[in-house]
């Protein structure tokens, strides 16, 4: 406790705060971009998995294989595979981009399942009715399924997003300047761990708590309608 009070003026210096601010921005950017792209790709994957017939069978199998394995492999392993994969291919890419790609892959796999569950919540009868009236798959999704399923998908994805903010801490493992990385580097520079990670903790909390509350509000509101 004594160390914290003593270090505080030095810790809360302008350069340090700028450092924390940048890290916070990177954490937000990593979470938002991976979940945003993940939502778009996840939607496409869920829709592709609904197709029938032979021509798209290889693609469906590939997508099933990818999403299922990404959801079962520890995220850290995925990150390292992407990281070492790029270095093996001798592609020069910044750690930030590598982390973004790995996180997007992980988010996509989980969100694809959320979207798929949302689609499946629409009773078989409505799919049948649409099919017998010559709706294409895209038209069925557009006019019947998505207008109903989004009420289930949106709250679940926002819940996932809040959880995923924490997962972006993984990026610190490959040297991306985000909140957890900055916490470690403060400690390396001799600041009290309690102070360093205390600041990081407060920022994670300030980031996710309002979002979590917003997600809950959305969920109850949509469930009521």
């Amino acid at each position: 406790m004594h160390a914290i009070i003593e270090q505080a003026p030095r810790f809360f210096s302008a350069p340090n705060m700028l450092f924390l601010g940048t890290a916070l921005a990177h954490t937000v950017l990593l979470s938002l971009a991976s979940c945003g792209v993940g939502l778009a790709l996840g939607f496409l994957i869920a829709a592709t998995r609904l197709t029938r017939g032979l021509p798209l069978l290889p693609l469906r199998l590939l997508l099933i294989g990818l999403t299922e394995s990404l959801r079962r492999v520890p995220p850290l392993v995925t990150l390292f595979i992407v990281f070492f994969g790029f270095s093996l291919l001798q592609v020069d890419m910044s750690p930030f981009w590598i982390a973004l790609i790995a996180l997007t892959m992980i988010a996509t796999a989980f969100i694809a399942e959320i979207v798929r569950a949302g689609f499946r919540s629409i009773p078989r009868q409505e799919w049948d009715a649409a099919a017998t009236m010559n709706f294409s798959l895209a038209q069925t999704l557009l006019y019947v399924v998505v207008p109903q399923a989004w009420k289930i998908i949106v709250p679940t994805v926002s819940l996932f997003f809040v959880m995923f903010i924490k997962d972006t801490a993984l990026a610190s493992q490959i040297g991306v300047l985000e909140l957890t990385f900055v916490g470690k580097s403060f400690v390396d520079r001799g600041f009290s761990p309690l102070l360093s990670f205390g600041a990081v903790l407060v920022l994670y909390f300030l980031l996710s708590f309002p979002l979590a509350r917003a997600g809950q509000w959305l969920e109850t509101r949509l469930a009521a309608s």
Binding site: A130, A131, M133, Q139, Y143, Q148
Partner: protein, 245 residues
């Protein structure tokens, strides 16, 4: 030439044989009623005709054209001409009664919106729901939902209307309102194939009755024959058990 000609239809579902060689024809304006115990394959025939279930073998001819259900174009052709009303109504829950009726003509068949809407309003009035145009399915009774479903099918201007146990999910006191609607269509000469457990209704309206059991047509003929003078003992047995329930 028969309007619809089904030849030696076989179908499997979930590893079980549900149709083992069903043949029948339907002429323009006929009302064919399929009766028989549960699991006899009645609904399977309707599902096969709309392409929801692909037969394992057999032929379906519509107006002299053989429909190859393996081909998307033929399935689409069949669905242009054959409309189905389901036991569970299968209405789109996110749409009002009116929208349920207009969505397919307008969005799928790309017809003029105002024309489609005028037709839909007329159809909903015809089935007695002129005051429920903007109600959502969950605000309607089962009988009302089923009448919306009938209006939705009619908006497709089908040549053949399939009715798959349309009163089975309804409370008994609501059955008559749906049957009244079907009577109206019969009077207009609509070609229909119905699966029904309402024996009095079948007897009153059907031009042909087919008794199915275990995926085969045991006996078919005009209602008078089936209900009063069935040739097959099995038919007589079924009729005597169900007729005056």
């Amino acid at each position: 030439m028969p309007h619809l000609d089904v030849r030696n239809l076989h179908a499997d579902y979930a590893g079980k044989t549900v149709l083992q060689g069903v043949s029948f024809t339907v002429t323009q304006g006929a009302i064919v009623s399929l009766i028989g115990p549960s699991g006899s394959g009645k609904s399977t025939i309707l599902r096969a005709l709309t392409g929801l279930l692909r037969p394992s073998s057999g032929e379906i001819w519509l107006d002299g054209r053989r429909l190859e259900y393996r081909q998307a174009a033929d399935v689409a052709y069949a669905r242009q001409r054959i409309a189905i009303v389901f036991q569970q109504y299968n209405l789109f829950q996110n749409m009002t009664a009116l929208r349920n009726v207009t969505v397919t003509p307008e969005k799928i068949r790309k017809r003029d919106k105002r024309e489609v809407e005028a037709e839909a309003v007329a159809l909903l009035r015809k089935v007695g729901l002129g005051d429920k145009l903007n109600a959502y399915p969950d605000e309607l009774s089962g009988g009302q939902q089923q009448r919306v479903a009938i209006a939705r099918a009619l908006a497709l201007k089908p040549e053949i209307l399939l009715l798959d146990e349309v009163t089975s999910a309804l409370d008994p006191e609501l059955v008559h309102e749906v049957l009244d609607t079907v009577r109206l269509l019969a009077a207009e000469g609509m070609t229909m194939i119905t699966v029904s457990h309402e024996m009095r209704f079948v007897r009153e309206l059907a031009s042909d009755v087919m008794f199915l059991e275990a995926g085969r047509i045991v006996e078919s003929g005009p209602p008078l024959q089936i209900f009063e003078a069935a040739k097959e003992p099995r038919t007589r047995q079924f009729i005597s058990k169900t007729l005056y329930r």
